[in-house]
Point group: C2
Chain length 449, copies 2
């Protein structure tokens, strides 16, 4: 790095906020799939730091990658070449929680779990939940409009962002903070930064509407005879406001994972040709008996957790799928939205008769969000198949009016499919907006657009 540049940054943020060695954790994503060559990481501690950094980079056409917890799946938060990484992890102040409005105000570098810990004494929690809760940061969650496990009940992250502070590439600090649930004063500028994957500016602060911790929870695990039955159960419970999660799994993966657990803890024997659903209900005064009776319309094979440990075990059967697939070989992971009743059809189109490499589909069927994982024996085989599968899969998804990314985002991975997803006219608009905010294209280059 040019010593002039180094000196400029030293002046702005001080030596203690400049890292030039051991940058591996900043250059690689956690899957080791995407690797960049940044030589410089900055760790600003205030919005003014971020402002000065971006202003300088913009004037000198230095490209930057904003980085939060670096827990994404699409290579959006690591550099591709030698971009400067702006790590937000030191901006981790929680300012306050307002009990009247249920809105928390915080800097963007706070770990999601820390926000939940802070809220615990008020009996509130953050409105979204992710597996990465222990390491992902608020700003990264907002920049990617993160999905997660509770969307069925609580809706999207976007709905809970009441206000933001954003630093633009030109260094301007946009004050879009807001602690009002209702603020109907025209075009809602902050929406542009939610889910834009750090391509328009850097989120430095946020106001988030929180939700009360539910008084009771109960997990139901169902064995069903057909995928049509899964859809029938979904239709039945969609009107139930207490449904917090509705997850679907194929028997073929649960059976394969059986030996991970002692026989007597398993809810069922699991069958290759059967279909399994995990439903969690939460709220005040759950009527567990009535919910059970409703489920019995569809199956007699129902397990209900008796305590917290059992709930965790039933969830584990669902959550260990991704990891267990990874242990079988090299995995292509897809995350698409389509009409829920088309899940089985889609997979059958890609692999007629379910032939081809071992693959399963599972996920948030309640949101129309299916994860498809395909295992290959070698990386070469995977790379050989990747484009072919994606062209077919994403083409089908598009023909169903679906989305090629339900929650994982675009990042580096799906950038080349943006025109397929959006169409030319919409893409043109998105480019104009990008150019308006970031005319020198310094923000997270070669991601998303």
């Amino acid at each position: 790095m040019h010593s002039k540049i180094r000196l400029a940054f030293e002046k702005m943020v001080g030596c203690s906020n400049i890292i030039t060695q051991d940058l591996n954790n900043y250059n690689r994503d956690w899957m080791n799939k995407y690797v960049g060559q940044s030589q410089l990481v900055l760790t600003p501690q205030t919005s003014e730091h971020v402002s000065q950094i971006l202003k300088y980079c913009n004037q000198n056409q230095l490209k930057v990658v904003p980085q939060s917890g670096n827990t994404g799946l699409v290579g959006g938060s690591v550099p591709i070449n030698d971009e400067i990484v702006i790590s937000m992890r030191k901006m981790n102040k929680i300012y306050e929680f307002d009990q009247n409005s249920a809105i928390i105000t915080s800097e963007s570098g706070v770990i999601l779990q820390n926000l939940n810990d802070y809220l615990f004494e008020y009996k509130y929690q953050m409105p979204w939940d992710l597996g990465a809760r222990g390491s992902c940061l608020l700003g990264g969650n907002i920049s990617t409009n993160a999905g997660g496990l509770n969307v069925v009940k609580h809706g999207l992250l976007r709905n809970y962002i009441m206000g933001l502070e954003v630093v633009l590439p030109n260094g301007k600090i946009l004050n879009l903070m807001n602690k009002n649930r209702k603020d109907n004063t025209g075009t809602d500028l902050k929406q542009l930064f939610i889910g834009s994957e750090g391509t328009l500016g850097i989120i430095t602060k946020a106001n988030v509407l929180c939700i009360p911790i539910p008084q009771e929870k109960k997990v139901f695990f169902l064995e069903l005879q057909s995928f049509q039955d899964v859809i029938k159960v979904l239709q039945k419970v969609k009107k139930n406001e207490q449904v917090l999660a509705f997850e679907f799994m194929e028997g073929r993966i649960l059976k394969k994972n059986k030996n991970r657990h002692s026989q007597n803890t398993l809810p069922f024997q699991f069958d290759d040709n059967k279909y399994y659903v995990l439903i969690e209900i939460a709220g005040q005064q759950l009527n567990v008996d009535q919910f059970s009776i409703e489920m019995m319309e569809f199956t007699q094979e129902i397990i209900i957790n008796q305590n917290e440990k059992e709930a965790q075990f039933l969830w584990k059967l669902r959550e260990e799928i991704a990891e267990s697939m990874g242990k079988m070989g090299y995995v292509l992971k897809y995350d698409v939205s389509i009409p829920p009743d088309k899940f089985e059809w889609l997979v059958n189109q890609v692999y007629p008769q379910r032939e081809g490499p071992f693959h399963v589909y599972y996920g948030h069927v309640g949101d129309g969000n299916v994860h498809i994982n395909i295992v290959f024996e070698s990386l070469e085989h995977l790379h050989k198949e990747e484009d072919k599968i994606e062209l077919k899969l994403f083409g089908l998804v598009k023909s169903l009016g679906g989305s090629i990314s339900a929650e994982h985002g675009i990042g580096q991975h799906k950038r080349k499919y943006m025109e397929l997803q959006k169409g030319k006219d919409v893409l043109e608009c998105l480019y104009s907006i990008k150019k308006l905010f970031d005319p020198n294209s310094i923000m997270n280059p070669n991601k998303l657009l």
Copy 2:
């Protein structure tokens, strides 16, 4: 109107979609407060009609006002001068309701109530509700991000808009339609058009996530001794997910309205110095007894409806306030968001000791949204006081971190306060976005920005 222009429109949309006489209903808002001088109303029947109209107007620098139900309160949907009115009421096709995703697909000119009627057989309803439900149109609701009575429970309209079709001023039809609950593919362009009051484009179609009709409802009407008690009740029930509405009224207006009803139907005698709250709970398996017991921590004076008629009557006491104020004289209406515990303080700042003209505050305290109505004996007096009150009121609102418009929008009325609300930097961004989409400023001129 130039005969060349008339001929051009005839060619585009046909004579039956051009109105040049009896334009009173298009030129005036329903309060008769804002009056324009349009000579031409077009009633397009397809998105292609809208596209051709806007393309022609853009090329010829003809200014247009998109108009839906014309039920707004801030003069946003009527012309100011001789703009061409584009009435959307003929684009009223409902395409389908998808029971798996609970998403309805419709043109934008459908009356809100008609959408509810259509959804009734599926036991679903639209996620927002307004007094104007019988005449307001879907597209107008979306363009103004309409608020309403159920925001406490269901959140903002914005959260339920899954997809849009929008015609840009240059005539391009942007296909942002989407029937997926989750679609995380970068910057969410459709958000720009929600709440932009028709200044960036015209919404022609929408996908809206619907909600199940609640199985049970119950209305509680409480008499409280102080405004602090109102806040205490609010804090108590904020964690209750079944709270559909939380409305506050002053005794001074309920007492004034007593003679509108026969004595024995009234829940209380009403007292100038007391405070009244209407809470509606809704959902599955309401526990009315427990809710009553919780309320008794704060007051013994509680009325609960025994049937639908009584529920309607209790709601009437709340809903008739605006109309009854109108009958007393000329009314200045404000609609601001501030921290709920500051409602009383705010009014006392504007009128110390509650002196000055007769005024009350009431509204959606559960959302931090207070309506302040001030009655004047003459229009002259009102006009004389208006600026003075607004400078003081909006200044205080701003100092509390509030919003000068919680739900009514900006339109013509509050345009001059946009800089106070937004600050220069944000306003500059909004102007750039306006210029990007509407470089010739043909869309709804002199509104919002």
